[in-house]
Structures are given as C-alpha cells and as structure tokens.
C-alpha cells in the first residue's frame, strides 16, 4: 500500500524537477539530483517528520546535490580541457505554464523509443525509483537504468528543450503522451497478477498521471477520454480475476464487485466531453466501456449502441482489434451467422492471420450458432496461440465445457 507520505513526495517530484531545470538548465543532471533528493526524503521524513515546506526542502536538497554533481562533471570536463561555459546558471524565467505538463511532453519526446518514454516518464514525472520501475515492469534494474540514461542522452543530443512545443506541434506531442500513459496503464494488467506485494501498481500510477494531465488540459477531449477509459476499465478489476488468478470474461463478471465510484466518475467525464469537444478514439473507447459498465446485467447491454460506437471507432481509428470487436457487437445485434461472414472477411488482414483473438471470436460465434463441436476446436486453437497464461486457462476451460 502506498502511504500518504509517498503520495506527497511523488506529487512534488515533477514540480521540484521543473523548478530545478528552470533555474539551472541541464535536464539530465537535474533529474539525477531530484532522484537523490526523493531518496533522502524517503529516508528522513518517516523518522524526523515531514518539513513545514516539503517542496522547498526538496528543492534545496536537490539544488545542493546538483551543484555537487555539476562540480564533479565540470572537474571531469576541465581534465579533458573542455571549457565549462554553461557554468553560469541562467536567470530563472517565470513559469509560464505548469511544469508537470512540460515534463510529460519532454519525457514522451518522439525521438525516444516507447520503452524509454515509459521508463523516463515513470521516473521523472511519477517520481518512482529505477528499482521500483524495474520491479513493476519485471525487468532488471540495470535494464531500466540503461533505458533512462539512453533517453536522457537522446534528449541532450536532440537539443530537446524544457519548454512547451510550438502550437502546431502541440496536438501530436500530447497524442504521444496519451499513448505512453495508455501503455503504462495496459502494462499494469501484468502487475495485477499479484505475484509480488512490493510492486508499484502501474494501473493506478497511469490513472494518477493522466489525472494530472487532465488537470492541466481540462478542455482536451482525448485527454478526458483516456482518463474516462482508464477509470471505466479499471472499475471492473475486482471482478476480472478470481482469487486463483483465473480470468472472468465481461459477460460472467459479478457486477456488484465493480467500483461504482470509478464508474460514476468515468461516465460523468465521458458524457461531458462527448457533448463539448470533437470526438476521438479514446473518447469512443471510453463511451463503449461506459455502455458496458452501465448495464446492470450482461443481458441488459445495449449492443445496438456498442455496435454504433464501434462503427464510429472504425472510421476514426481502424485497427485489427476494432474490427474484431465490431464483429462481436454485430453478432449480438444481428446474430452469429452474418458475423461469421464478417469474421472470414476480416481474417484477410495479415495482422489477424492465425491470431488467437480470431480463433476465440470464431469459437464464440460458432457456440452462439449451436455448432459446439467446431466451437471446441477453435477454442483449443485460440488457447494454443495466446500469449496470456490466464487467457489460455480460460480458453481451455471453455473448450472442455462445450455441451456434447
């Protein structure tokens, strides 16, 4: 469990880093210094108490540490006979906008690879340590450390700066941030297998960061859409797995265990954003999640509405998974036989060739059509081709439970 103290430190992390970068420049060294200040806080605050001005405390400690790091760095440079011309800190410009947004945009800079964006965002904006990120992503600490230092090198080499991008680049840069946050959220499903208690919950972390972004850009419909999508998806988590880790499909979940507060918040967000801003893929996905979440029982689901939303999503952001989900919705509205024909057509997409979800959907449709024997065969095919262990168990169980 995260303590209120940890929440405080981690909320302050991007603000402290922003203050340091504005004062001294040099994102790279400042980020290292802030990490060490966070560590010092983690050691000292629980025993000595939280200082009266925690942000000021962190800025002071980080600044001192940065000076030390910078001295070491410039001593090394002098030995290499390079003039440290950057030694004079520039005067601090007034913060035009909130630093958290600027930091998010920098960490998700398009010159970085996806895995580096994730690691750097979690550390610089999320305030997590390299060790915590490594445990959360199930990779060694050295791997994460390397991703972060490479990302920082890249930012330096590219001359990417700690300032807001020009207006013409802004929408694309925000889209990149949304993609990284969604990636972190999805990565969180891995953590929900619950094999380790001291792992950071990436799902909650993604929601926390997306909430921060939403606070800064409340009128951006896609930011709102992503936050709603995360809340509406995460709301089902308590019902999504059994204590032994087995998956429960949406139609069979105990809906009383869904998080009603998260659903209410997600529905409110998406309803408002659909009414007020241009619609986009995250909003459409959130709207679909909302239709499911608002159905008291699986059989109450408004599939006509779901199908309509998938048609819109297919026009806005077509993709293999959208195609498949549309086929399922189509079957629920028009019956399994026309949907099977749609599925056969969809399979022409190379991305779906021998894809386990195609086999699973076909099995499901065959079941609905009453052809249980073929359904069983396709459930087994899906079980062999999935990469998810709980899903494999579920699909094998489905195959076994076919009526003879």
């Amino acid at each position: 469990m995260r303590t209120p103290f940890e929440d405080l430190v981690r909320d302050l992390a991007p603000q402290v880093l922003g203050a340091l970068v504005r004062r001294y420049g040099g994102f790279d060294t400042c980020e290292d210094a802030v990490q060490e200040a966070l560590l010092a806080a983690a050691v000292q605050w629980p025993t000595k108490g939280v200082p009266d001005n925690p942000k000021g405390w962190l800025i002071t400690v980080a600044s001192r540490r940065r000076t030390e790091l910078f001295r070491n760095e410039s001593a090394r440079r002098r030995r290499e006979e390079v003039v440290a011309a950057q030694a004079v800190p520039e005067p601090e410009p007034p913060p035009a906008v909130d630093d958290t947004l600027t930091l998010l945009l920098l960490c998700c800079h398009p010159s970085l690879t996806g895995v580096s964006q994730v690691a750097l965002t979690l550390r610089a904006v999320g305030g997590l340590s390299t060790a915590e990120i490594a445990r959360a992503l199930l990779v060694p600490e050295s791997t994460v450390g390397q991703r972060i230092s490479r990302a920082k090198q890249r930012i330096r080499a590219d001359g990417a700066e700690f300032r807001l991008p020009p207006p013409e680049e802004f929408p694309d840069r925000v889209a990149a941030v949304l993609q990284v946050l969604y990636l972190i959220f999805n990565e969180g499903y891995t953590a929900s297998s619950g094999t380790s208690l001291n792992r950071v919950d990436l799902t909650s972390e993604a929601i926390r960061l997306t909430r921060q972004l939403h606070d800064r850009l409340p009128n951006d419909g896609e930011v709102t859409g992503l936050l709603a999508l995360m809340l509406l998806t995460d709301a089902r988590r308590p019902a999504r797995t059994l204590p032994d880790g087995a998956l429960v499909p949406l139609a069979e979940q105990d809906r009383r265990r869904w998080d009603a507060d998260a659903i209410a918040e997600g529905v409110e967000l998406i309803t408002r954003s659909l009414a007020e801003t241009p619609v986009g893929p995250y909003q459409l996905q959130a709207a679909i999640a909302a239709v499911h979440d608002e159905a008291e029982r699986a059989e109450d689901t408004d599939w006509q509405e779901v199908l309509g939303l998938y048609e819109l999503l297919n026009a806005a952001a077509p993709g293999p998974m959208v195609t498949l989900n549309r086929v399922v919705a189509h079957a629920m509205v028009h019956g399994p036989l026309p949907a099977l024909a749609h599925l056969a057509a969809a399979e022409a997409d190379p991305a779906l060739a021998n894809h386990h979800r195609v086999h699973a959907v076909r099995a499901h449709l065959l079941d609905l059509a009453g052809d249980h024997e073929s359904a069983k065969e396709h459930y087994l095919k899906a079980a062999r081709t999935t990469l998810s262990q709980p899903e494999q168990r579920y699909l094998e169980a489905r195959a076994r439970s076919r009526p003879e």
Binding site: S116, A119, V139, T143, Q146, R150, Y189, S193, P249, S388
Partner: protein
C-alpha cells in the same frame, strides 16, 4: 514484450564447430560478447547466459517424496540448449533481428519464442 532466444546445439552445429580453428572459435565467442554489450547498452537485454556442457547436467525427479537425480550426458538427446538471451523488445520483428545477429544463426540452430504473460484481455 519479452522473447526468449534459444541457441541449440545439434549434430549439425557440433560438426561445424569441429571444423573451426581457434581464431574462428574466438570470433564466435566475441560475437556473443559484442551482442550482449549492444543489447545491454540499448536497454533490451533481460539476461543472457551460455550453458555448461551436457556432461554436467542433472535430471531431477521426485518419486514418493524422494528426490532422484541422473547425470548427463543423456545418450538419447540429439539437440540440447546451449545458451539463451531473454530480451524485452518492442516487436517480434526486433527479436528476430537480434536472433539473426547471434553467431549461431549461421548454423540455423536459433529459435525465438514469445514469453507468455498476463496480457490485457477484456471484452
């Protein structure tokens, strides 16, 4: 996504190994070292190891609560695992690209396997 790159030892790869001189064998080992370094540097390597000879292998089984072991090499085994790379990369294509860079790819004894996980699954 994590992928396991398996380097197998089979009659064909062993026959090839026999024909190599010391310099060529050294180059092969160096190829692995360089690949390991490059993957560490790119932040893609989870772990990589070469395995000791099958002579040192033990098979373990438990019968009636007692642990039994038998010592290698095992006569019936034609192909065995000689080493592996566990990588965490952005795509299957990238994992295949890395596998192609292992010196052993020349003997065709390299295999790439996606790792099972608890991936996103909801409908």
């Amino acid at each position: 996504m994590k992928y396991l790159i398996l380097i197998h030892s089979n009659p064909k790869s062993r026959a090839l190994w026999e024909t190599l001189d010391d310099d060529q064998r050294y180059a092969l080992g160096k190829g692995h070292m360089e690949l390991t370094e490059a993957l560490t540097e790119s932040g893609e390597l989870v772990v990589s190891e070469g395995l000791a000879d099958l002579e040192l292998a033990k098979r373990v089984s438990v019968r009636d609560g007692r642990t039994l072991t038998s010592d290698g090499p095992f006569a019936e085994v034609k192909e065995h695992l000689a080493g592996f790379y566990l990588v965490d990369v952005e795509s299957y294509e990238r994992a295949v690209e890395i596998a192609a860079r292992t010196p052993d790819a020349a003997t065709g004894a390299v295999e790439v396997r996606p790792v099972l996980d608890m991936s996103t699954w909801d409908l």
